[in-house]
């Protein structure tokens, strides 16, 4: 069964995308070699359109010629296919909880955070408050735990890198410290724990380049930073 598992793994992604980077973290944690293909979503390649005709989005994982899209689906596929260093817990209830929290990050926190972008004044403040309310739930989850997955890095941690290294890097741009340490000590502690993990450290966009990119994008979209 384990023979040709690692053949031909290709990832279509973007260096700045949290959804793409989480796949890289998972593959690297499992020691799966892969070929990375940087995509330009403003000028979509025919390969991307062919491999993800439904959504035309990254990331797309291609394994032995077969494409898989939707980052959470890809993460489960990776865990199913390469069972070493499991990302999801074994127990069905714990798995259900992990899936719930992963969706919470992607469908609640992410959506709320996007509403902060490009807003100023009261509108911005309201959007920040809404995001913080959701982050407070994540804060609670971390009490007494090193990682969202418990004693070690797991599915929810990998997904929540979106919070640690994307949401928490947009403070300057938004003009407000979205996740102040006084309000979110557990989240800050968790980010430190994440950075102690070599795989995470090497798989996230380098901070300086990342911040430069975000600023440039905001400028090009003529989004104000207050």
């Amino acid at each position: 069964m384990a023979e040709s598992r690692s053949e031909e793994v290709k990832l279509l992604g973007m260096w700045v995308s949290p959804f793409s980077r989480r796949i890289e973290i998972a593959l690297t944690l499992k020691g799966v070699p892969y070929e990375f293909s940087e995509q330009d979503i403003t000028n979509k390649s025919s390969l991307l359109l062919q491999l993800n005709p439904v959504h035309k989005m990254i990331p797309v994982l291609v394994h032995n010629g077969k494409p898989i899209s939707e980052s959470l689906v890809i993460l489960e596929y990776i865990d199913d296919t390469w069972p070493n260093n499991p990302i999801l817990p074994q127990d069905p209830y714990d798995r259900a909880m992990a899936r719930f929290w992963a969706k919470f990050v992607d469908q609640q926190i992410y959506v709320a955070a996007m509403k902060m972008v490009g807003k100023i004044g009261e509108e911005r403040d309201a959007a920040v408050e809404a995001t913080r309310d959701l982050l407070k739930l994540l804060e609670k989850e971390l009490v007494g735990k090193d990682f969202l997955g418990g004693t070690s890095l797991g599915f929810v941690d990998i997904v929540a890198t979106l919070v640690a290294f994307w949401l928490m890097r947009t403070d300057e741009i938004i003009g407000v410290k979205i996740v102040p340490v006084e309000m979110f000590p557990e989240i800050h502690r968790w980010v430190k724990n994440l950075l102690q993990n070599d795989v995470v450290k090497n798989c996230i966009p380098p901070e300086d380049e990342h911040l430069k990119y975000i600023k440039a994008r905001m400028d090009s979209l003529k989004i104000k930073s207050v």
């Binding site: 394994h63 069972p83 074994q90 069905p92 209830y93 969706k103 919470f104 469908q107």
Partner: protein
């Protein structure tokens, strides 16, 4: 795959639901498929409940599966939990990792695109909005027609010989689709445009795990009239 059947399967199973909800329906079908005995608790005041047709997972109250003292939320999570906990009984997700990924992908699509469009038609504020939602929904049907052909591999269901993850995810939407067909006059599942889905729908309705729990269409129609204030339901 290393899934350990660690849960005590003899623990009491309760499901909190609401009869019109397609999400609740999914969980009932899954429990039936595995022949799990459970207590069903109907949520009170279904008509004014925010949660019945609300896909948003934070605000959603139902369905909630309570196994022993463990609550599990979100219909697809519950279906997967049932599949992973009760290992005897027909599998809901396929065993091959790629087929599993395909099944998961389409259920995400069904929730984020199909259901959103169904809701979009129901709550559209004007004709233009409604037309756009209808067009989107028709697109979804065309895609799922193709998907059926790929996944069924000539058998009767998306899951092959028996109903699986996509059948449950999409089949639960047949009731709301029929209600919309009645009010808009548009046939979303059609013997000419979507012949495979048309035949599949009949088979799905007749399945022993589905038949006893599928809400009566007339009742759903009446519920829609009361629930939605928009003109098409008058």
């Amino acid at each position: 795959m290393g899934l350990v059947n660690g849960s005590n399967n003899d623990e009491y199973v309760r499901l909190l639901g609401a009869w019109p909800s397609p999400f609740v329906l999914r969980t009932r079908i899954a429990l039936n498929l595995k022949r799990i005995a459970y207590e069903y608790l109907e949520e009170e005041d279904t008509l004014n409940s925010e949660s019945v047709l609300n896909y948003n997972p934070v605000h959603k109250q139902i369905p909630i599966l309570i196994h022993g003292n463990k609550p599990i939320r979100e219909s697809l999570n519950i279906v997967m939990y049932v599949d992973e906990t009760w290992l005897s009984g027909p599998p809901i997700l396929p065993s091959d990792p790629f087929d599993r990924a395909v099944a998961r992908f389409w259920d995400v699509y069904i929730d984020e695109h199909c259901f959103t469009s169904i809701n979009g038609v129901a709550v559209a504020k004007d004709e233009e909005e409604r037309k756009a939602a209808i067009a989107k929904l028709e697109q979804c049907m065309a895609l799922l027609e193709e998907t059926f052909q790929e996944c069924s591999k000539g058998r009767g269901f998306f899951g092959g010989d028996n109903i699986g993850f996509i059948d449950i995810g999409f089949g639960s939407m047949l009731g709301p689709l029929k209600v919309l067909e009645k009010f808009t006059g548009v046939k979303f599942i059609h013997p000419e445009n979507t012949p495979n889905l048309f035949d599949w729908a009949d088979r799905f309705y007749a399945h022993e795990a589905v038949k006893p729990v599928m809400p009566d269409i007339e009742k759903l129609v009446e519920f829609a009239k009361l629930k939605f204030n928009t003109s098409i339901f008058k």
